[in-house]
Amino acid sequence: MKTKHYKYFTFFTLILLCSISANAEDLRKIVSLSGNWKFSIGDDSRWSDPTYDDSGWDQITVPGQWEDQGYNDYNGYAWYRKSFRIKEIPSNTTIYILLGRIDDVDIVYLNGRKIGSSGKFPPDFKTAYDRDRRYIIPADLLKENEENVISVKVYDSYLSGGITDGPTGIYIDEDNELLDLNLSGKWKFHTGNDKTWKSADFNDEDWKTINVPSAWENEGYEDYDGYAWYRLEFKIPQNFPSGELYLSVGKIDDIDDVYLNGEHIGNVYDLRKKSWMGVQYTGWEWTMPRAYKIREGLINRNGSNTIAVRVYDGQGLGGIYEGPIGIMSAENARKYKNKHHNNNGYNSFWEYMYDKFFGNDNSNND
């Protein structure tokens, strides 16, 4: 669903994204999913079943809008299916599926299990046509050297429809190599804000689970803006490297406060260069890579530890949306920040420009 206006808007957004992408996560494709997919218009919940026989289905090229592939004028539901094999499932990393952009709404199943969704299906329709689809694949869901089946249910309101453009494939995040302990995966999640949620002994049993890293809009919180908390309990493995440790919580939209075992270890503004006489420069928080130093003695190397992250999202996508998530050495934390930061402490050209326009008075006082 896009009008001409939206097209210009998309174009502008694309330019914006391109300029930021130099700083985006380092994804490496391990399986390509572009090319021929099975396709049928209509909607049937059985079509998510990996054993469903789709041999009689039509074929379609992905990415590409279905209007250009014989379905001109078609609006409504359609399903895409594709199977793929993977020789060796990479370990100790985060595996993603990228499906480019989907017009308007989608829900994605891998081997019959839902792995992500964007937008809202009717009756409360909401498009997500301009959002990049990137969902975490739970490692236990992938089968090595066997057929894996992806099924994608799409709803298009009108105009172009389907998996329209952008990269499609299975990817791993190369930044995960910086981690000594990968903590991405299922975390506990609760919307709202309560300061008792930071403490290590808070009982979060009845909280919902959520994939980390992934914008919460992809995880069923489509319209949610405001406060939310993430929690995770973890243990340090035996023979863990000694020395100074950092906790990386990747990139967060927008503002975070990170607690380890009840103690505040950082927030995004701790990472900002404080050169403006105490006046905090705000904006572009969502582009900042977060790796916070863990003070000596705070982490429990033998028992359990609890991370609590309070997130405030002003608008648009929200939450811990990009990795690496986990424990890393001081050296790797520096590498990670350097890779995603330029030397001025600005995270992108746009952040720099923003500062030049709106932060002038402060820098003169410097």
């Binding site: 206006h5 909607d43 014989g70 001109n72 078609y74 329709f125």
Partner: protein
């Protein structure tokens, strides 16, 4: 009193407007561009002045009627000075080789108002008969003929009721004939017929027990400008009750609403089924619409909503933000999802 000159002027204006619209959008609604002429229907038609409901039926014997030339104003065919009602009738054979296509009857330009029957079934109407008379002399008549009304390879009867207020009258000009469009959807319930219609906006109108007996009637599909609502822009509601006869199991059904100018919300038995475009949150706000009017509507009906072999009510809220308005192009009706998938596969094949 309208003169020929002003008529032609208006017609030229209308045609240039259409051309402008087509070139601007690149996509046409039912226009001759998309249609292939299969069979000419010019020549002698049976004709009688007056009006009688029986004359629409194929059973009526018109052998002692007069034959007149079509297209031509009846003033030129011996009825100079006649104004009022008249009927045209013609028998045609439709070859079964056209069975998979959408078939249309092109009756060119009719002065002023018409109502068209195919084998006794009303397939369309343009303009508005007295007492709420409204002319549509400058609208081209292209009517979709639902396949279920057609007796393929046999005899079929076209009956056209015409009302002329003044000046020229009858089927006056155009490329009269049977035309073929794209692949036809094999509808389970054809809803191309007379609906209840009321301008204005009121959400109580979506309820199945809402009393619409005082509403006027309109033929769907067809823009409302051609059916007595000239220059009307804004909100309007359509309602239609029908019995869903079915012998099939619990197959998913799709409601085809064709094309609607500009945006719509559709309810079945009071429950929301689908929508195209964004309505303003309050009716007084201005709506912003784009290309919604070109979008083909196929709404998947939630399971369990349609009552089998019982009465169901469809209510459609339409907002027209300017120009033509209403449910203006078919197919309109219910189809099983299985047949709908086949339909699109055929369309794809046809396009390649």
């Amino acid at each position: 009193m309208k003169t020929l000159l002003s008529k032609n002027k208006k017609r030229t204006l209308f045609i240039s407007l259409i051309i402008l619209l087509l070139s601007a959008s690149g996509k046409a609604f039912v226009s001759e561009d998309n249609l292939v002429r299969l069979q000419g229907l010019e020549g002698k038609w049976q004709f009688s002045i007056g009006m009688n409901e029986e004359w629409a039926s194929p059973k009526f014997n018109d052998s002692n009627w007069e034959s007149i030339g079509v297209p031509s104003p009846w003033e030129d065919e011996g009825y100079n000075g006649y104004n009022g009602y008249a009927f045209y009738r013609k028998k045609i054979t439709v070859s079964s080789k056209y069975k998979d296509r959408m078939l249309y009857l092109n009756l060119g330009y009719i002065d002023d108002v018409d109502e068209v029957y195919f084998n006794g079934n009303k397939i369309g109407s343009t303009g508005s008969f007295p007492p709420n008379y409204s002319t549509a002399y400058n609208a081209e008549r292209i009517y979709y003929i639902p396949a279920e009304y057609i007796n393929f390879d046999g005899s079929n009867l076209i009956a056209v009721k015409v009302y002329d207020s003044e000046g020229e009258g009858g089927i006056v000009s155009g490329d009269i004939g049977l035309y073929g469009g794209k692949t036809a959807a094999n509808l389970d319930v054809n809803l191309q017929s007379t609906w209840k219609f009321q301008p204005g906006d009121d959400f109580r109108r979506k309820e199945s027990d809402f009393d619409d007996s005082g509403w006027s009637e309109i033929f769907v599909p067809g823009k409302w400008e051609d059916q007595g609502y000239r220059d009307y822009d804004g909100y309007a509601w359509y309602r239609k009750s029908f019995v869903f006869h079915t012998t099939t199991g619990n197959e998913k059904m799709v409601l085809l609403m064709g094309k609607i100018d500009d945006i719509d919300q559709v309810y079945i038995n009071g429950t929301f089924v689908g929508s195209t475009g964004t309505f303003p949150s309050r009716s007084r706000e201005e709506a912003s619409t784009g290309q919604e009017w070109e979008a083909f509507r196929g709404y998947y009906i939630p399971d369990g909503l349609l009552k089998k072999n019982q009465k169901n009510v469809i209510a459609v809220r339409v907002l027209d933000t300017g120009g033509d308005g209403g449910i203006y192009e078919g197919p309109v009706g219910l189809i099983t999802q299985t047949k709908y998938i086949e339909y699109w596969r055929k369309i794809k094949k046809e396009g390649n």
